[in-house]
Symmetry: C2
Subunit: 299 residues, 2 copies
C-alpha cells in the first residue's frame, strides 16, 4: 500500500452540448483513483450509500483499486448535477446533495496507515489533520481544493496548504487564492505560502508547475472533441501521484514527467462522458499518448 486517495464517490448528472447523462458514476475520488490505477494500486477512502451499484465497486476492484477504505453507509450516495456551456470552461452547478458525505469522518483501515503518499481531494481543510494524524509513515502529502473552501474557509485553507508537499489548483482557484491576476505571480505566491510544489491546471492550456527553484510548463494534449470536462482535474492529480508513486522519487525530473502524465490522462477523461474514457483506456494507450505528445512538444 503506497498511495491513498481520500475523496468523494458520487452519482453525477451531467449536461453538456454533446448530450446528457443521468446519475452516472463520478466523484473526485473515483476519477483520481482510476487515473492513478494506470501506474499503481491506489487505496480509496470514501463513502457511498446503499443505493450505490455493487457492480461498479467490483469494476473499481478489477481496475486495481483497493477499496478497504470505502464505507457503505445507510442512506443515499453524494449527488451532483452540473451543466456545461458551449464553452467547456463555463460550468454551472444545478444541484448538490451531500447525503452520506455529510459528517463523513474518514477513518483509515489499518492497512492504509502505512501509506507513503496521500491525496486529500477537495476535502474540508479542517478535516486534513484528522486524516494526517492516522498516517504513520507518510512521505508526501498532496491536496487540491474547490472554490467553496477558498471562499468559505480561507484561513483554514491557508493553514492546510502549509502542511502539504503538493498543492493542485486550477487557474481560477490559483488566482482567487493568491488574490493575484497574473498566473505566474499567483502560482509563485501560493508556492511561497507553504507547499513545496504548486501545480496549476489550466484545462485546455495545459499546466504549470512551480517548485522551490524551478518552473515547468506543459501544453495540453490537443483535443478536438471535448465531450465532458468533469473530473479532468481529479484525474490529472491521480495520474500525477500514481506516476510518482510508481517511480518512488520526487525529484524535478520525475515531477515534470508526472505533470505530463497528469495532462495525458486528463485528456482521456474529457473525450467522453464521466469515467468512460478512463475505463476504456489501457496502460498501452497511455504509453502511446506519452510518445506522441513528446513529439508534439519537442523542439
Amino acid at each position: 500500500m503506497s498511495l491513498i486517495i481520500v475523496g468523494s464517490v458520487a452519482f453525477d448528472t451531467i449536461e453538456t452540448p454533446s448530450g446528457r447523462r443521468d446519475r452516472i458514476i463520478g466523484g473526485s475520488g473515483t476519477y483520481a483513483a482510476l487515473a492513478a490505477s494506470f501506474f499503481v494500486r491506489p487505496g480509496l477512502v470514501s463513502v457511498v450509500g446503499r443505493d450505490f451499484p455493487r457492480s461498479f465497486l467490483a469494476g473499481l476492484r478489477s481496475r486495481n483499486i483497493d477499496l478497504a477504505g470505502l464505507r457503505i453507509k445507510q442512506g443515499k450516495t453524494f449527488f451532483w448535477h452540473g451543466r456545461y456551456d458551449r464553452d467547456p470552461n463555463l460550468r454551472t452547478t444545478v444541484r448538490t446533495e451531500l447525503n452520506v458525505l455529510q459528517n463523513f469522518k474518514p477513518v483509515l483501515p489499518d492497512s492504509f496507515r502505512q501509506a507513503d503518499l496521500v491525496f486529500l481531494s477537495n476535502l474540508d481543510p479542517e478535516s486534513h489533520d484528522f486524516i494526517l494524524g492516522q498516517l504513520q509513515a507518510v512521505k508526501l502529502v498532496a491536496m487540491d481544493t474547490i472554490r467553496y473552501w477558498i471562499e468559505n474557509k480561507p484561513q483554514a485553507l491557508l493553514r492546510a496548504i502549509q502542511k502539504v508537499d503538493i498543492l493542485f489548483v486550477n487557474d481560477e482557484e490559483c488566482r482567487l487564492m493568491a488574490e493575484e491576476l497574473n498566473l505566474v505571480r499567483a502560482g509563485r505566491k501560493l508556492q511561497m505560502a507553504g507547499p513545496k510544489i504548486v501545480v496549476v491546471k489550466k484545462g485546455e492550456h495545459g499546466a504549470m508547475l512551480f517548485g522551490r527553484n524551478f518552473v515547468f510548463g506543459v501544453v495540453a494534449n490537443p483535443c478536438e472533441r471535448v465531450v465532458d470536462p468533469t473530473g479532468a482535474g481529479d484525474a490529472f492529480a491521480g495520474a500525477f501521484l500514481g506516476y510518482l508513486d510508481s517511480v518512488g522519487r520526487f525529484n524535478r525530473k520525475e515531477l515534470k514527467k508526472a505533470a505530463v502524465y497528469g495532462n495525458l490522462v486528463a485528456s482521456l477523461v474529457i473525450e467522453d462522458f464521466g469515467v468512460e474514457g478512463l475505463l476504456r483506456a489501457s496502460q498501452l494507450e497511455i504509453i502511446n499518448r506519452y510518445r506522441q505528445f513528446r513529439k508534439l512538444c519537442t523542439f
Copy 2:
C-alpha cells in the same frame, strides 16, 4: 535582401494598469521588423507622415532594418490609442486615425523585389495581390490579420489565405474565422482552408502550430509582469520569420524552433511599454532566453 515586411508604422497612445504613454512609436511593421532584426536584416515597407521623428528612423536603420521601402508622405502618421484592462487580454481601442495609411499603395523598391520571404501584416486582404505581383522570386508568403478584416471582408480574407504559406492568427481571431469554438478544430479548419501552416498565438498560453501532418504546441515564456501587450503578436511573427529566413529551411524542425523564438521575442515585448523591450534586448539575451526556456519545458 530576403525577408520583407509590409505593415504599419505608427504613433501609439497606450494606457495600461502600469501607466500611460503618449504618442510612442508603434505599428505592426515596426514590431515585426525589430523582432526579425535579431536574426536577419529585414526590409520594411510602410509609410509615415512628416511628423515622424527622423531620429527613430535612424534608430531602426541602426538596428539592421532596411528602410528603402519606407515612404515619408505629406500628412500625419497613423495613430492608435488603446487601453488595457487589469486583464491584459481585454483591450479597448479608444481612437484610430489612419492618416497617411489611408490609400497607401505599397510599391516595393526594386531592391525588395527579389525577396524570398514576405510578411503581409494586418493588411486589407484585397491589397495582397498587388504586393505579391511585385515579387519575382518569393518562396514563402506569410500573413496575419485583425478582427476588422474578419468581420468586414470575410470573403476576400478567405481568398487571401489560400495564397499564403503561413497564416498567423491569435486564438480569438482563429475561433472567429473558423466559426468554431474548439481551438484545435478551429486551427485545423483554417489550415485545411489553404495555408500550409497556421500559427495560433495564445498570448499568456503560448502558441500552437498546425501543419499538414503535424501539430506543435509550446507554452508561453512565464512572465510575472505584463506591462503592455501591444505588438506582442507582431513581434512573434517577425521573430518567427526572421529565424526562418536566417536558417533558410522551412521544415518541421525549423518551424518549431521559429515558433519558440517567436514566443520568446514576444515575451520581451510585453515586459515594457511599446518597443522598449525590443530595443533594449541583445541577440545574446535571445540566446539566453532560448536556453532557459528549453529547460523550462523539457521533460
